[in-house]
């Protein structure tokens, strides 16, 4: 009888001991990275992965000096697939920090599981208006930008230029609606048409025929990744560029798009909180390291992804590796005690940045390279339009 009882109790004791020792031996801090390696947002996903891997390498696989493990998964740009991957990261891998998705619909799909499990989500790109306003959450950090703000920058520029009419187009998903709302907020001319195309649509013949019929002064488009690459090519191939000025966001004007489109992009304006030519030291180091590692210039996706890892690194250092202390971890993340590649910023009440936004234009450098140049700062210490709808203080 005694023997029968002792076996399970021994096992329990052994388990308890092993659990205690593994906690003492400092398990690596686990970080979930859900990336869009394939699908309609693959160009952004690839840049995000490369920049995160660079930051991880520079930090020697550590966060704040403590060993870390980075669990990567492909979301294929699909909210369903991303949610499954993130649920697995939460339940099986027991992640303590999260980042990675490129599109807003994926960010909105994975948020609830992460917030329920008290895993801070430091965004490397999307800043959906939902998370900036009524659905703001202490576990979401809009480290990059709020979706509308890029477009408020360009809308301001279009107003300053005195463009009378604008045709505006975006994919029909949460970020698309945010971006066009942002443009309309600061553009004082007439919006001749507001078109929402299908996510992943690559043939814009039908939409460009409408542009030709309306002859707007400006054509504003938010079409990330391959969508924008095709759109610009088809816009130029349709011979519309002589009557209509093309305005956009970094999602269709950065190095990835330039590599695919080239010359036709000269003169393309966009608004962003970052550009590779910003003179601050952190940015110069990042651009140099990225070029050394990948032999190309980084995009804003890369800059933001690099920042996301640095933000985690700083927070883990501030809490001395004790990521289980959630209030302390949130406080450390919000303090953002690191040198961002965009320069100085601080978090607003809704965990979205208060920062400057620059106007950039695609031009040629002295040595003939096509790239972006920062030309103005239309919005200074800008707060997003949703911060007062957020109940966080």
């Amino acid at each position: 009888m005694k023997n029968c009882l002792s076996l399970p109790s021994l096992l329990t004791a052994a388990l308890a001991v092993s659990a205690a020792t593994s906690a003492l031996a400092a398990d690596p801090i686990k970080v979930g990275l859900a990336l869009d390696i394939s699908g309609p947002f693959a160009t952004g996903g690839g840049e995000t992965r490369d920049a995160m891997n660079l930051a991880i390498k520079l930090l020697d696989n550590k966060l704040g000096g403590y060993p870390a493990e980075f669990i990567q998964a492909d979301t294929a740009g699909s909210p369903d697939q991303a949610k499954q991957a993130v649920d697995r990261m939460i339940q099986q891998n027991r992640i303590s920090l999260f980042s990675g998705p490129t599109p807003s619909n994926v960010a909105l799909a994975v948020g609830p599981s992460l917030f329920a499990a008290k895993v801070p989500y430091i965004t490397s790109n999307p800043g959906p208006s939902q998370y900036a306003g009524a659905q703001c959450n202490p576990y979401f950090f809009g480290l990059s930008y709020q979706n509308d703000t890029w477009d408020e920058t360009v809308g301001q520029h279009a107003t300053d230029q005195g463009y009378k009419t604008a045709f505006i187009i975006a994919p029909n998903y949460p970020a698309g609606r945010d971006h066009l709302t942002g443009f309309k907020r600061t553009f004082k001319g007439t919006v001749s048409s507001e078109v929402y195309s299908k996510v992943g649509q690559l043939d814009y013949a039908a939409e460009l025929a409408q542009v030709r019929a309306q002859k707007p002064a400006a054509l504003y488009f938010f079409l990330p990744g391959a969508m924008g690459i095709n759109f610009i090519k088809q816009f130029v191939a349709s011979g519309l560029s002589k009557d209509t000025v093309l305005l956009t966001t970094p999602a269709s004007s950065d190095e990835d798009t330039i590599a695919a489109v080239g010359e036709p992009m000269l003169g393309l304006f966009s608004g962003s909180q970052w550009s590779h030519d910003l003179p601050n030291a952190a940015n110069q180091k990042f651009v140099a390291e990225f070029r050394k590692a990948y032999n190309r210039y980084p995009t804003f996706y890369a800059a933001q992804a690099y920042d996301a890892i640095l933000a985690m690194d700083a927070a883990v250092r501030d809490v001395k590796g004790n990521v289980a202390d959630k209030p302390a971890l949130l406080k450390a993340l919000k303090a953002a005690n690191f040198q961002s590649v965009r320069g100085a910023f601080k978090y607003d009440n809704n965990n979205f940045p208060i920062q400057d936004y620059y106007l950039r234009v695609v031009g040629k450098t002295a040595d003939g390279r096509i790239t972006n140049k920062t030309v103005a700062t239309p919005l200074k210490a800008h707060r997003d339009a949703y911060h007062d709808q957020c109940r966080m203080k």
């Binding site: 160009t43 025929a209 030709r212």
Partner: protein
């Protein structure tokens, strides 16, 4: 709506119709004559697009890319025909659907292994990057005109081949009554192989031409396979003429749905609602058309089997 807008949208519809025709012509021949349901036809289309984009970037010549795509896909089709289809001819449609669906899965993964999951950005040849002025005020992308021309050329070529050559006669005989043709001494096996390779070549051509308009990516074959099957059903199985007419009609209906339905709805609905509704209506229109045709002509518009 201005006349130029209308003409431009109609040209877009024709362009899409010709692409569907290139695929559906191959499908209808294979299904009509060989009685084989080939779902892998979309994979041949995808392979054509990838090979063309790859060779175009390597050599800098678009034409070499297209020729290479057709050549490589013909070889692939030959391998498929010898290794798999010859064993499938005698089996029922379910076995054929399962086997060719398997080919889709394998093809998608092989393409991912070679080129990665991210889409390739194929470009049109530099000489065709600009527009051409068709009418005063109507500039049209020259590359799309080339696609239209290629579509017309293939349609005429197929018409001559099928209706005015001996091979074409054998093909038609096989399509309308395979057993009778066999009794009359036609070597149906050889006609089968020829038709299969011809269909593959057309799919490769369509893929190579479509690449620069969209993006070359995994799954592009399945995306276009479904409307091609609709064309096949509307046109009547085994009929090139049916495939042509149906492809044009489906191309037009799709464009009208995509271009004019949103404009009509915009008058009284919000832009986000329009973009949710319009594609659904455009998508439905094609299937409604199919249902209508099937209700009155169950064998399609121009059935090959009388």
């Amino acid at each position: 709506m201005t006349p130029t807008l209308f003409i431009e949208q109609m040209l877009n519809g024709l362009g899409y119709g010709f692409m569907l025709f290139l695929l559906a012509a191959g499908l209808t021949l294979i299904f009509g004559i060989m009685d084989v349901m080939n779902l892998a036809h979309g994979s041949l289309f995808m392979s054509g697009a990838y090979v063309a984009a790859h060779v175009h970037t390597r050599t800098g010549s678009f034409l070499v890319g297209v020729v290479a795509a057709i050549a490589v896909v013909i070889v692939l089709a030959l391998v498929l025909e010898v290794l798999m289809f010859r064993k499938l001819y005698a089996r029922d449609h379910l076995a054929q659907v399962l086997a060719t669906f398997g080919v889709i899965l394998v093809a998608d993964d092989v393409v991912k292994m070679i080129w990665g999951a991210a889409p390739l950005m194929a470009s049109a040849p530099a000489a065709l990057a600009g527009p051409v002025e068709l009418l005063p005020g109507l500039l049209y992308p020259s590359y799309r005109l080339v696609i239209l021309a290629a579509g017309v050329a293939v349609a005429v070529g197929l018409y001559l081949l099928v209706n005015h050559t001996r091979i074409g006669m054998l093909v038609r005989a096989g399509a309308s009554n395979r057993r009778m043709a066999e009794f009359m001494g036609v070597r149906v096996g050889q006609v089968f192989s020829l038709v299969f390779l011809l269909g593959a070549a057309l799919a490769a051509l369509a893929g190579a031409l479509m690449g620069p308009l969209t993006a070359v990516q995994v799954g592009m074959g399945e995306e276009i396979l479904i409307p091609s099957l609709v064309v096949l059903v509307i046109g009547g199985i085994g009929s090139i003429r049916g495939a042509f007419v149906a492809a044009m009609v489906v191309g037009m209906v799709d464009t009208v749905g995509r271009a004019f339905v949103p404009m009509a709805l915009k008058a009284f609905l919000s832009p986000t609602l329009v973009s949710d509704l319009a594609p659904a209506i455009a998508g439905l229109a094609t299937y409604a058309l199919m249902a209508l045709v099937l209700a009155f002509k169950p064998a399609g518009l121009f059935p090959a089997r009388g």
